[in-house]
């Protein structure tokens, strides 16, 4: 609008230097703004033209419409669960939020769309939330991901193209392989073998990790070959996987080798540390004898030790010729790989405070509560509380119940408060009806017990609301 530009120009220069020019203004404005003093004339005209400009504002026409998101026919989560979600967002408990999203994934519900931006923002900084959020965000999530580059992760992985194995990213290929191993085990193995030699070392190691979840006897030759891989990470993984398969040639070789290294005289196990000649299948750099012995013990079937006595006796025998810790570590690794519960219990019993106790305890499927009772009686409260902290997750229901029973018996002492936090978060949903959660608290209950009860109840309600 020229009249307006003229006024702004005169205002910048000052009316003492340039008289306002109202020539381009509408006659009505000229008439109404007429003043003696030029500055007043300018201000009056500017006020009038501001009104003109504001009142004459036109709508835009050159807009780019957005595409429409695919329909989402899922019903909204119930109001009470929506409120829970708002609390989870406000309180920044990423692990509870992650659990909530996980529960939601198993229901027919959808998150009201207006909450998705806030969720996407928290998943942007707390990356563990991204996959569970993408799984429930639905078409609106994918639509938002296309609009906001910060939220790309909201787009759930689409049906992947057939050539993803050739051209996809590592994450895409890993997903493809996982699915293929479940749907078409033979085909997956063929595909893996075809491209195996061309893959970089870290990808080979990664794919062995994927294979770990789908291991079968037929994998033995493949893994046996991988023992001679150029990359140490691949060799270690292959040895680890072979250790999980029963009756392998690798296991046999290790047993034979071990036979030459160990003798028993009465209650003493005497070891000779392996020398450099024992390299086959364990190509590594120069390994120290103790380390090599541990590797061999870890790879040997535990049945090897049967002739020395039952596990509980063997683990207590005196050891000569090598460090006792080395042997115990080897046994623990073997027990975990072979999922041998008798050995696991024997090892826990022999050294309850040891660093392998937590993983071994988590592996047990039976008699967990008895083992825990045993540990509680043998360990200082502080050590047991630390053990709780180290237990690998997820926990079984039996483990969860046993630990809840334990903490329910604890007095108001600070030593267990940290374990209480871990237990409250880690027990599986089956344990959330435990008396600890349902019994009314007395007013004397300490802060940690209050927090434990609150968290258990909070989680229980989370599940109930989304039923």
């Amino acid at each position: 609008m020229k009249a307006w530009e003229d006024l702004v120009g005169a205002a910048l220069l000052g009316t003492r230097r340039r008289e306002p020019d109202l020539g381009a203004a509408p006659p009505a404005v000229r008439e109404l703004a007429a003043r003696v003093e030029p500055a007043e004339e300018l201000l009056a005209a500017a006020a009038l033209l501001t009104g003109y400009r504001r009142a004459g504002r036109r709508a835009l026409t050159d807009v780019r419409p957005l595409p429409v998101a695919a329909r989402d026919d899922r019903p909204y989560v119930p109001a009470i669960a929506r409120e829970r979600l708002a609390r989870l967002l406000a309180a920044s408990h990423p692990d509870l939020l992650e659990e909530w999203l996980g529960i939601l994934a198993g229901t027919p519900y959808r998150i009201p769309p207006e909450i998705l931006p806030a969720l996407a923002e928290s998943a942007r900084t707390k990356t563990t939330l991204r996959v569970p959020l993408a799984a429930v965000a639905g078409p609106v999530g994918a639509w938002l991901a296309d609009r906001n580059p910060d939220w790309k992760f909201l787009a759930a992985p689409a049906e992947e193209a057939a050539d993803v194995w050739q051209f996809g990213s590592l994450a895409q290929r890993r997903r493809w392989l996982t699915r293929k191993l479940a749907d078409d085990p033979e085909g997956a193995r063929e595909t893996l073998l075809e491209s195996w030699r061309g893959e970089p070392a870290e990808v080979r190691a990664d794919f062995l990790g994927v294979l770990a979840g789908h291991l079968r006897g037929v994998d033995e030759p493949f893994l046996e070959a991988a023992l001679n891989d150029r990359a140490a990470a691949v060799r270690d993984r292959a040895a680890d996987l072979l250790g999980r398969l029963p009756g392998t040639r690798f296991g046999q070789r290790m047993a034979e080798r071990l036979r030459r290294l160990v003798t028993r005289s009465r209650a003493v196990l005497e070891f000779t540390l392996p020398g450099d000649e024992m390299q086959d299948g364990l190509r590594g750099g120069k390994q120290e004898g103790n380390v090599r012995l541990r590797t061999i013990v870890a790879a040997t079937p535990l049945s090897f030790w049967a002739e020395f006595g039952p596990p509980s006796d063997v683990v207590r025998m005196k050891v000569e010729g090598c460090a006792a810790g080395v042997l115990r570590d080897g046994w623990a690794t073997a027990a975990l790989r072979q999922r041998d519960e008798a050995w696991a219990q024997a090892l826990i019993g022999a050294d309850p405070g040891g660093r392998t106790t937590a993983p071994l305890l988590a592996m047990l499927t039976t008699s967990q509560s008895a083992t825990i009772a045993h540990l509680v009686s043998r360990l200082q409260t502080e050590s047991f509380a630390r053990l709780v902290h180290e237990l690998p997750r997820p926990w079984s229901a039996a483990l969860g119940t046993a630990l809840l029973d334990w903490i329910a018996r604890q007095g108001d002492q600070r030593l267990v408060s940290h374990a209480a936090v871990v237990i409250a978060r880690a027990v599986p949903p089956e344990c959330l009806g435990h008396p600890l959660a349902t019994t009314r608290l007395t007013l004397e209950a300490g802060p940690w017990r209050r927090a434990l009860t609150e968290t258990l109840n909070f989680r229980r309600e989370m599940y109930e609301e989304l039923r």
């Binding site: 205002a11 230097r17 500055a39 500017a46 709508a59 050159d62 419409p65 957005l66 931006p117 938002l144």
Partner: protein
């Protein structure tokens, strides 16, 4: 029955004086923390174990709402009051007979309200002294307006070139003089102008627009007696004169209708919070603006939840384009589904018409139906099917609106200003969502 219309949790969260309090309140909304929690038609109460030895006793009277809690917090309402209300909103507080301490407090409040009413009735008003005070103030404001006019004329004579260096400070100095002259409207305009200096490429144009309207206001102030009564009221209001609530209730134009509570916008200015709640009469089509003020840490009025329909009688403040109003008599808000809106063309036309009656109009309510968020070269906008669109203000966060719409047309209540639309509420599939 607990109450006729149970509150939503969002409504409870809206009572919090600030975000931290809302968060703290949510953390208190855990049944395990409360003992003896109960609700009646009038109140919600409970005892909450806090850090102290004795549990805190919390009670909320729903009508106000009014709060009482024995905790030492200076937040108002405190987290315990919010917590017990949230618990109640989530349906976790059972109906119960009113315990003694709650009953006593409610009775106390009722008595105090009665006394206060008597006081205002009986209070002898020294009309003469009041008139004298009013005249003194009017004189001071007159003086301020004359001073501002003189300053503006001098400033425009000298020109604004180079103003970006010290202009903002100069404007704030003049604003302070207007505060002394009790002309808060003029002071506010000058502070707004100070914020424009040097901002963006077209700051001289924006500054001239703001200052020219201030000139118009100061000029009108000197001619107040010659203006039509309604316009004079508008000028007085813009200058910063307030009209007493009682006078508005007594003499203001009354409009009874089923009012749609379109949306609410909160703003902070100098530790004072303002909530603008926009209403639209579903029969009369009249727009209304209800203002609520609160100092930092105090809750804003939450009796007008957006997205609800309220049968009420409003009393308008006198003005050339009446907009601000008080709720004189009200019913209970009920959720409103998919209200009928207007087109962008209609909304702009109504805005232009009102601007003719009140050139200082800063914000205008729009209720646009069938609009979809879209993009332009400079930002987000709301577009009708044929591509007619209005831009959003650059400061608006568009994502909630975008997520709700997901490319589909929605009805949006927004505030229009020369900078663009500020979306407040959005209706989609019969659901109102506060933005």
């Amino acid at each position: 029955m607990v109450t006729a219309v149970p509150w939503t949790v969002e409504r409870v969260a809206g009572l919090a004086p600030d975000a931290t309090s809302a968060k703290a309140g949510r953390a208190q909304a855990v049944a395990a923390k409360w003992s003896g929690a109960g609700a009646s038609a009038e109140a919600v109460w409970g005892a909450c174990q806090g850090s102290g030895k004795k549990p805190y006793q919390t009670c909320v009277e729903l009508a106000g709402p009014a709060y009482r809690c024995t905790c030492p917090s200076r937040k108002f309402p405190c987290k315990h009051a919010l917590g017990v209300l949230m618990l109640w909103a989530a349906g976790q507080v059972p109906e119960a007979p009113t315990p003694g301490w709650v009953g006593e407090w409610l009775a106390e409040r009722a008595e105090r309200a009665e006394r206060a009413e008597k006081r205002t009735e009986a209070g002898p008003r020294d009309e003469e002294a009041a008139a004298k005070r009013a005249q003194e103030r009017a004189n001071r404001v007159d003086g301020g307006a004359a001073e501002l006019k003189a300053w503006l004329v001098d400033r425009v004579g000298a020109g604004f070139a180079g103003f970006e260096r010290a202009g903002a400070d100069e404007l704030r100095t003049v604003a302070a003089r207007m505060v002394d002259a009790q002309a808060s409207g003029l002071a506010g305009g000058l502070r707004r102008a100070a914020g424009l200096v040097g901002r963006g490429r077209d700051w001289p144009g924006a500054l001239l627009a703001e200052l020219s309207l201030l000139y118009l206001l100061a000029d009108a102030c000197t001619r107040l007696g010659t203006l039509p009564a309604d316009l004079a009221e508008t000028v007085r209001t813009r200058l910063g004169f307030t009209t007493e609530t009682a006078k508005v209730l007594e003499t203001g134009e009354r409009v009874a209708d089923d009012w749609l509570i379109c949306g609410a916008a909160d703003e902070e200015n100098d530790r004072l919070f303002t909530r603008r709640t926009w209403l639209r009469g579903s029969r009369t089509g009249r727009d209304a603006l209800v203002l609520s003020f609160a100092p930092l840490g105090r809750p804003l009025d939450s009796s007008l939840p957006p997205g609800h329909l309220l049968t009420a009688e409003l009393a308008y403040y006198p003005a050339s384009a009446p907009m601000r109003a008080l709720v004189a008599e009200r019913g209970i808000p009920v959720p409103a589904h998919g209200p009928p809106g207007e087109s962008i063309e209609q909304a702009l036309a109504a805005y232009a018409q009102t601007l003719a009656a009140d050139p200082w109009l800063a914000r205008w309510p729009m209720l646009l139906s069938g609009v979809t968020p879209a993009e332009t070269a400079t930002g987000w906008c709301l577009s009708e099917k044929d591509g007619t669109a209005l831009p959003l203000v650059p400061t608006a966060d568009p994502w909630r609106l975008l997520a709700v719409s997901a490319g589909m047309p929605v009805t949006v209540a927004a505030e229009w200003s020369p900078a663009g639309l500020r979306p407040l509420t959005c209706w989609h599939e019969d659901r109102a969502v506060r933005l």
